[in-house]
């Protein structure tokens, strides 16, 4: 493939040659001839003559296995396939030259843009001897959660003067996952109104305090008058009371807002980043307390993870949070309508949202409260993120802040435990603030 330099020299040579003939100037023609010879020699022995010879452009060239690069192969190994934000991944790239000719190669292992090379280099210029291999090691720092892929490996050979080059992408990919980082929480101040007496997410088929009907039995002293089933009494003539099925352990529902608007602000400081980190921290805390935790993310679709307990559930939640993308604009009301029939009354619900661009928020949270759910809202303020990034001026900020305060006050009036989560506030502080501590 011609480089810009060779294209410039080629054009210059043609121009000089024609001008030399026109002006009958042999010096010009001689310079043109020398340049032609330079180019020809580089094309012949630069290790990429096949491209020049075929006269095909690189993009038209279907034969990926070019002569110079067909014998070069790459393999990659990662130190870990799952890490947390701000963690490091060690990469070992193994380059092999299977041919009998030594090569000077430019190798660039493609790393996702958000990552930073911490140690070593992913761009290497090397002389790889005949039938030799070499190992390239570098470390990348992963500051943001997500699914990532390393690769492809771009390999280039060029002549010493950089006149012609040939490139090839070795399609070697390695996927890895960056989980949102977690904060250690001492207490969340969130407790279920349904007493927790048994661990595990299974339904307990036995009578006890709960919400669902279980059976009828005769009245004993001490039973609440409110539990008496008067219809049954009328039928049988005996005082009968309703027994209820004991609810399982505390079911904690985490709702994460991943609509497009949640990503407003800088890449590393926005509501979605804070929400996912908070959800991960809360999930870890509750699962550590042996509660069952469910997760719902909503953006362009409502994605839910059913309640469960244990370490496996933590990784399921973390994986889902790692892949949460800021897309769509589904209102919270849709989520509420969908999940209400499936969650036990009294279960604590924690909503993580910046509360923006959703006119249904008040009604949706009112629906939760009307059914006696314990609702906590942690609202990372994207106003603060944008104001800190100097994208908002003081006046605009004040106006929007006032609007936000009005909304928060209204929600607080509904009995929602809500906290305007400012960027520098720790999650534990925000939670304590929300719960009125």
């Amino acid at each position: 493939m011609w480089s810009r330099k060779s294209a410039m020299l080629g054009s210059l040579a043609v121009a000089m040659y024609l001008l030399g003939l026109t002006l009958r100037n042999s010096q010009l023609v001689t310079i043109a001839v020398v340049i032609f010879v330079f180019l020809t020699w580089a094309a012949l022995f630069g290790g990429h003559a096949d491209v020049s010879a075929s006269g095909r452009r690189a993009e038209e060239w279907s034969g990926e296995e070019g002569v110079s690069l067909s014998n070069v192969s790459a393999m990659r190994k990662l130190s870990s396939a799952r890490i947390f934000e701000d963690g490091d991944v060690g990469v070992t790239l193994r380059m092999q030259n299977h041919s009998a000719l030594g090569k000077i190669l430019e190798v660039k292992d493609r790393v996702p843009e958000v990552m930073r090379i911490k140690d070593g280099a992913n761009y290497i210029l090397m002389e790889l001897g005949p039938r030799r291999e070499t190992f390239i090691e570098y470390t990348v720092e992963c500051p943001l959660r997500g699914f990532y892929s390393l690769g492809p490996v771009a390999v280039r050979v060029q002549d010493p003067f950089g006149l012609f080059h040939k490139e090839k992408e070795l399609h070697v990919y390695n996927d890895f996952l960056v989980f949102p980082k977690m904060e250690d929480l001492k207490d969340t101040f969130v407790k279920s109104r349904v007493p927790k007496i048994f661990t595990g997410a299974v339904n307990i088929r036995q009578p006890g305090p709960g919400s669902e009907f279980y059976s009828l039995r005769e009245y004993f002293d001490g039973d609440s008058f409110r539990a008496i089933n008067w219809s049954a009494y009328a039928r049988s003539g005996k005082l009968m009371v309703n027994e209820r099925e004991r609810d399982a352990v505390s079911d904690i529902i985490l709702i994460v807002d991943s609509r497009a608007v949640s990503e407003t602000g800088p890449v590393s400081r926005n509501a979605l980043v804070y929400s996912t980190r908070a959800a991960a921290s809360l999930a870890k805390f509750f699962l550590g307390r042996r509660d069952s935790v469910g997760l719902i993310t909503y953006g362009d679709e409502v994605v839910s993870i059913d309640r469960d307990t244990g370490k496996k559930q933590l990784y399921v939640i973390l994986t889902k949070l790692a892949g949460a993308m800021a897309r769509g604009n589904i209102p919270l009301q849709v989520v509420v309508n969908r999940i209400l029939p499936h969650i036990n009354k009294g279960s604590p619900i924690i909503v993580l949202s910046n509360l923006e661009d959703d006119p249904t928020i008040v009604n949706a949270l009112r629906d939760f409260r009307a059914r006696d759910f314990d609702v906590t809202v942690l609202s990372p303020s994207s106003l603060e993120f944008e104001f800190d990034a100097k994208r908002l001026d003081r006046t605009g900020y004040e106006v929007l802040k006032t609007e936000r305060d009005v909304l928060i006050s209204e929600l607080r009036g509904l009995g929602v435990n809500i906290m305007d989560w400012e960027p520098d506030m720790l999650l534990s502080t925000a939670l304590a603030g929300a719960r009125g501590f």
Partner: protein, 304 residues
């Protein structure tokens, strides 16, 4: 959202304020006092200019080079040497006769002074460009050198200074012109190499690039700096000596025709050079058409 007037009433138009705050994304574009879009909200797309495309990099380097290392210093020294030799040879092989300034002024003295000034300027800008590693001065130097050779000539090479009587020998004249052309191309390459290796060296030292077996890579470049000019010079000599080679070949069949050919004005003029070039590059073109380089490469790669 604040506008110049400070009126925020439009924020509430058609909206129930208590329901939610307005979309921040929509507001990002006009939330400042002046209403302009924040600079960091617009992704920057850098498209290289025409000149940058030609030079293979930015004309004004955005990368600030670190102080030159030994390799770059050596290249700079080589470049200075080539530049001086090129300057002298340019002055010798490009007499003021036939230049544009001679045609315009009609004065040999003024034309000579102007021609000399151009050559000196070419050397000066070349020196400065190489020393400061600034592509703009290098480009100016290239243009001045090319400008100095743009002249109407009478097909035959003439010299402005002939202290060693090169003009008496056709071969020596040809050698002189070939050396001049090779030096010019070498100057292009060396000055370009100064920039390339400065960028590479800076990238290495800022840990953007890691280089394995530096000595071998540099050694290959050094070898090429010697071998390529020799080959280019030899081949150019071959092309330029067509007026000798062709009659010698024809003499195998007819002495008379060969004699007439060697005395032919066309063959000893620039058109003879053009003919030689045509012959050589027909052969080269045929090699490429037969895909010989691929076969050659393939054979070299796969031999035991």
């Amino acid at each position: 959202m604040a506008t110049k007037s400070g009126d925020t009433a439009h924020l509430y138009d058609g909206k129930t304020v208590r329901s939610s705050a307005p979309s921040r994304k929509k507001l990002a574009g006009n939330a400042s006092a002046t209403g302009e879009i924040p600079k960091d909200a617009i992704p920057t797309v850098e498209i290289p200019t025409f000149i940058e495309s030609l030079l293979g990099g930015p004309l004004v380097p955005k990368m600030k080079f670190l102080p030159a290392d030994k390799m770059v210093q050596n290249l700079q020294l080589g470049c200075y040497g080539v530049l001086i030799a090129l300057g002298v040879l340019t002055y010798i092989v490009t007499p003021a006769v036939g230049t544009i300034w001679f045609a315009v002024t009609g004065s040999m003295t003024i034309a000579t002074i102007l021609q000399l000034m151009i050559v000196v300027s070419a050397i000066g800008t070349g020196f400065w460009g190489t020393m400061s590693r600034d592509a703009r001065f290098m480009l100016a130097s290239y243009i001045l050198f090319i400008l100095s050779v743009m002249r109407f000539a009478s097909s035959k090479v003439s010299l402005s200074q002939d202290l060693f009587n090169f003009g008496d020998s056709e071969l020596l004249l040809t050698i002189l012109v070939v050396i001049y052309a090779v030096l010019l191309v070498m100057y292009f390459e060396l000055s370009n190499g100064v920039l390339r290796f400065s960028m590479l060296d800076t990238s290495i030292r800022t840990r953007e690039v890691y280089v394995m077996n530096v000595k071998k890579i540099i050694g290959k470049y050094h070898r090429s700096l010697v071998i390529n000019p020799l080959i280019a010079g030899t081949l150019a000599m071959l092309v330029l000596s067509v007026n000798t080679i062709l009659p010698a070949f024809i003499s195998l069949f007819s002495e008379q025709t060969a004699l007439r050919m060697s005395e032919s004005v066309e063959l000893i003029s620039v058109y003879g050079v053009a003919l030689g070039t045509l012959f050589v590059f027909i052969v080269v073109g045929a090699l490429f058409a037969l895909d010989l380089p691929t076969h050659l490469q393939s054979w070299r790669e796969n031999k035991d």
